[in-house]
Structures are given as structure tokens and as C-alpha cells.
Symmetry: C2
Subunit: 188 residues, 2 copies
DNA sequence: TGTACATCAGTGAACGCGCGTTCACTGATGTAC
DNA sequence: TGTACATCAGTGAACGCGCGTTCACTGATGTAC
């Protein structure tokens, strides 16, 4: 069968989006290409008309996730008067914790990507981007250093709050870190 | 062949230790039982004389790692006059970053364990233990909240510093977080 | 307008591979007599 | 002391399974004439 002109591009995009979701939610290693294609109503053979390999998809999906996150963050930054508290509020929200598939790839994917052979430079780019973003919205002379602490705390708190079984402990990790970091932005 | 009385117990322990190393260094999913047993000079069939399943080993190895870490931490706590800075120094050391197989399971394993079906209560126990440990060595009235921030920052910084490709960025993440957290303990 | 052909996204069987798990077996040593 | 037997940690072939990847094929539609 032959399809409309942009049909292939649409399928391509659908694969990327479904992969970006599954890689973050389930992990890269635990995401099979066969189930992924099936979920899109396709057969697995067709995958290689779109990507060179699974690793190719991993890199593409990661970059897609990064781009999506960054543009939604940019929106927050330009709309709010003091954007950093809002950014922290959203990053350490229950919604973000409960939907890893739609969120930041750092807490979910970076450990596995680091363990999987050569890591890509995408993680570096993302970390640098986040640090710059925080730093620019922090006042005070040691904003550069504080941004490192804040990013570390955000990622650690999100990771832990997702890994822990007890909902109360999870809430405590998430909400306490959130409150203290937001207070920090107001100290300055 | 029949072995000395404690032979089986020794083999059991060797499996646990090798697994605890590999699970943390390579990830649980990426660690095969066959290569693991082979590395110990054994064949894979014998594994099931020691453990009910891979999941059984995962839980056992995790608990072993936790126990080892906690006893080495206890040592630090009882030897030093002000133990918290030393604890942070060690947790966020280059040595710890460069040897995930011998270190804290939280940055390496917790994301994957959270993704793998039902998470065990061991993560909760570990988090609680670490929080209590930090809190007890922090002065000031909001030690309870500060301990959450510190633990999150430590785990996030270690995770990021291991995931990033550029050694300078890695050092910056690790060393800046370390310095700021140690300063925090002295503020109080 | 009607027919022959080219295109190519997607199909689905097949590939080798490593996984976790099972199981009949081995064989050195301890115990029973 | 010598012989028959029991033990059981470890062996290694085999199981079904899902993985990533390959490839000959399909068939609806566009293009050429």
C-alpha cells in the first residue's frame, strides 16, 4: 500500500513518542521493540524502515524528550514573574512523580544509560541546560554553585520518591525537598 | 563430590557478593546468572541449589549491600568527632563515584527496582536509615527536614556525576554539592 | 480515459542469541556395618 | 580394616521465551504513456 505524503513522517513521530514514554516509564532494557510497534498497531519488521537500530531510537527518543521538556520549561520561565519557584513546584509535583513516562529523563534513564556502554553527550547537554536555567533565575553571588545543589536535590528527591514503597515517605521526600528549595530561592 | 562443612555457605556468600557488585555496576536486568556463575568458576545449574530465583538473589544481594554499607558508615560515625562532614566527604568522593559496584545501591539500583514490578521494602528501610543517620548528626531545629534535602542532593549528585560524559562537569557536580553540603553542616 | 508499471511503508516468517529455569546425573567423601 | 551405600554441591544439556535484526514479499496508490 502507498500512503499519503506525510504518512511515514507521522509514523516516525509516533514511534519516537511511544518510545520516549516507555523508555522513561519502564527502562530502556525492559522496553522491547516488538511490543512497542504492536502498541502502535504496526508489526516489528517495519521498525527498520524508520531507525537504524534500537540504540538509534534510544538516542532519538531521548533527544525528543529533552526538547519537549525544555520547551515546556521555557513556557514556565517566560510566563511567571519569579519563575524558579514555579519550576521547582512543577518538577517536584505529585504529577511529575506519578508520570515518569512524561517527565524528565534524568532520574529515570541516566543510571541505565550510564551503565549501557558509551553514554551519549545528550545527558551532558541536558544537565548543562538545567544548571544554566536555574542559575539564571537565582540571585546572589554563588548562584553558580547553588544551581548544582538544587539540581542534584531535585533529581535525587524525584528518584527516591518514585523508588520508595510507602506513600507517606514518598510524599515527605518530595514535599520537604520542594519546600526547602523554594524557600532557598526566596532567601536570596 | 562432597565438600567441607562450610563449603556451601561460602559459595552462597560468594554468589551474593558477586551479584551485589554486578547489580550495582551493570544493573539488575543486564546481569545474567550464567556469566555471574561462570565468573565464580561454577556452572549456572548450581545456582538453584542456593536461591529460589533471580528475584530472590536480587533481594538478598540488595540486603547484603545495604548491610555492608551501613556497617562501614557506622564505623565512620563512631570514630569521628563530627561525623557528618566525613560521611558526606566519603559519599561524594571520587572513589565512590568511580566504583558504583562497591557503593550505595540507591543511585544505581533504585530506578530499575522501581520499574521492575513490585518494589521491595528494602529501599524504604535504606532511605529511612540514611535519613535518621543524617538527622541525628545535624544540629538545629529543622534537622528533620534538612536531612531530606541532604540525602536527595547526595543521591542526585552521585547519580548525575556518574551519568555525565565530561569529566569536568562530573567533578563540578560532585565537588560543588560536597562542598555546599559540608558547609551546611557547619552553619548550624 | 485506460492500462502497465514503479514505488515503498509496512508485513510476518525466520535468524541466532542469551535469558531464567529444570532436571537427570556425577562423583568425592562421610557413615554403617 | 574393608566394603556397600547415602549424601548432595555442582554439572551441563535442554526447555521455552523474547530479544534485536534481516529479508523476501505485499498491495494500494501514483506516474507514464
Amino acid at each position: 500500500m502507498r500512503y499519503s505524503e506525510d504518512h511515514k513522517a507521522k509514523t516516525h513521530q509516533r514511534i519516537i513518542e511511544e518510545a520516549a514514554l516507555r523508555f522513561r516509564r519502564d527502562g530502556v532494557g525492559a522496553t522491547g521493540l516488538q511490543p512497542l510497534m504492536k502498541a502502535l498497531g504496526l508489526t516489528h519488521g517495519g521498525f527498520y524502515a524508520h531507525f537504524k537500530s534500537k540504540d538509534d531510537l534510544v538516542e532519538t527518543a531521548l533527544q525528543h524528550a529533552v526538547q519537549t521538556l525544555e520547551s515546556s520549561t521555557a513556557e514556565v520561565l517566560h510566563s511567571a514573574e519569579s519563575p524558579l519557584p514555579l519550576f521547582i513546584q512543577r518538577y517536584l509535583s505529585d504529577l511529575h512523580r506519578d508520570n515518569p513516562g512524561a517527565g524528565c529523563p534524568l532520574p529515570t534513564m541516566s543510571a541505565e544509560l550510564g551503565q549501557r556502554g558509551e553514554p551519549s553527550a545528550t545527558t551532558d547537554a541536558m544537565v548543562r541546560n538545567r544548571l544554566a536555567l536555574i542559575e539564571q533565575n537565582l540571585e546572589g553571588e554563588n548562584a553558580e554553585d547553588e544551581s548544582v545543589l538544587m539540581l542534584s536535590a531535585m533529581i535525587g528527591a524525584l528518584l527516591l520518591s518514585r523508588s520508595v514503597k510507602d506513600p507517606e515517605l514518598s510524599d515527605r521526600l518530595l514535599h520537604t525537598t520542594r519546600r526547602l528549595l523554594i524557600e532557598k530561592t526566596q532567601d536570596q
